[in-house]
């Protein structure tokens, strides 16, 4: 009887140990799975943080590049515009001189017609010739300065268009910093106009 009981107890203990080990093994497996998921989530989180950091850094850098480009473009455009204004003024002045010489030439023609003495006529004719030469020279210079004015005008338009493109790029491609910069710029412009 005793050996039977001992056998049953041994089997019972064996089953208990087996169950205990099975449970422990399952628990460890579960801990491993959950730890693995936790580490995977942590990796994803870190990767996302790095991506965001990298993205922000790129936006900062691009913002600076575009701002510098915009600044240079504005500076060169200002110079081109100043040259354009000078060319316009020069043209106005030459135009004024051409009109004046035309008026004077008409007066001299009239005076020559009315003049009776040959010496007076000769003197007037000399003045007319001098004015004709002057007019011819003024017309030549006017044509040249007109070409310069047209060239400066094209440059100004081109540079203004580039400046505008850069301004929009800053607004649209460099995040909130770019939007804020754009808004400040527009506000400054509006206050200058007011």
């Amino acid at each position: 009887m005793l050996p039977v009981l001992a056998g049953v107890a041994l089997v019972g203990a064996g089953i208990w140990i087996y169950n205990e080990l099975q449970e422990q093994s399952a628990a460890e497996r579960e801990r491993w799975r959950s730890k693995r998921e936790e580490v995977e989530r942590s990796i994803e989180w870190h990767e996302e943080q790095i991506e965001n950091h990298l993205h922000e850094a790129r936006l900062s850098y691009d913002f600076k590049v575009l701002i510098d480009m915009h600044y240079s473009c504005v500076k060169v455009a200002d110079q081109a515009y100043s040259l354009l204004k000078d060319a316009r003024k020069s043209l106005d002045k030459i135009g004024e001189a051409i009109v004046k010489t035309k008026e004077q030439r008409e007066i001299l023609f009239k005076r020559k017609k009315e003049a009776t003495s040959p010496s007076d006529k000769k003197e007037i004719q000399e003045e007319i010739t001098s004015i004709q030469q002057l007019r011819s020279s003024l017309f030549d210079d006017k044509d040249e300065i007109k070409k310069q004015r047209d060239m400066f005008q094209t440059r100004v338009k081109d540079l203004n268009s580039k400046t505008h493109t850069l301004k929009i790029s800053i607004k649209e491609r460099t995040g909130t910093r770019g939007i804020e910069w754009y808004e400040r710029l527009e506000a400054r412009k509006a206050s200058r106009r007011a």
């Binding site: 990767e47 943080q49 991506e51 990298l54 003024k89 003024l138 210079d141 310069q148 060239m151 440059r155």
Partner: protein, 195 residues
């Protein structure tokens, strides 16, 4: 100024922040219970115990590995953040230096053009006075002729100054263009090695 290099395009960052990791390398421990050998093994009562103990030990080691990996990942992430900050700082410093150099060059040309502008203003004033002489009846024919000779000299000077200014403007535009083209874009400055 020719076409400026197109502004930097929005960066595509996908995959650029990936960390080195081998979490997926850890596997569960399963014993082969199929076939005749598996059946014979399962008859051995100690086999269950040894397999269970082996599994417990295996998972404990795996968990320890994961904990180490987690710490390593955190450290690697810190290094990446520091790398980004340093690269950005270096890039911005480079841009600042270039900007200062460009600004100085622009100022020199601007000053030069400003002087030319003032010179033109003086010439225009002289032209105004000479234009008045055309119809001035108090002047002698000699004086008028002198004035008429001087006037085209001055308009010619305006033309020459305009030509010189065009050359200067071209130069400043070209130099600015070159300086802007030399600016490295963010993809070149802020990037990780794919190795």
């Amino acid at each position: 100024m020719k076409d400026i290099k197109p502004p930097p395009k929005p960066s595509t960052n996908t995959g650029k922040g990936k960390l080195i990791q081998d979490v997926k390398a850890g596997k569960s421990l399963d014993f082969d219970k199929a076939g005749m050998i598996g059946f014979l093994k399962s008859l051995n009562p100690l086999q269950f115990a040894s397999e269970a103990i082996a599994q417990i030990t295996h998972y404990k080691i795996q968990i320890k590995n994961l904990e180490t990996e987690q710490v390593r990942i955190q450290e690697e992430a810190k290094i990446r953040h520091k790398q980004i900050d340093s690269a950005l700082k270096a890039g911005l410093q480079l841009l600042e230096e270039r900007r200062r150099a460009l600004e100085m060059a622009l100022e020199v040309v601007a000053k030069d053009l400003e002087n030319t502008h003032l010179e033109k203003q003086n010439i225009l004033e002289c032209i105004s006075n000479l234009v008045k002489n055309i119809s001035d009846t108090n002047l002698s024919i000699e004086e008028k002729q002198m004035s008429n000779t001087l006037l085209p000299e001055l308009t010619g000077l305006l033309k020459t100054l305009g030509e010189q200014s065009t050359v200067k403007l071209d130069l400043i535009a070209q130099n600015t263009q070159k300086a802007l083209e030399a600016m490295p874009n963010s993809d070149r400055i802020l990037t990780f090695s794919e190795d």
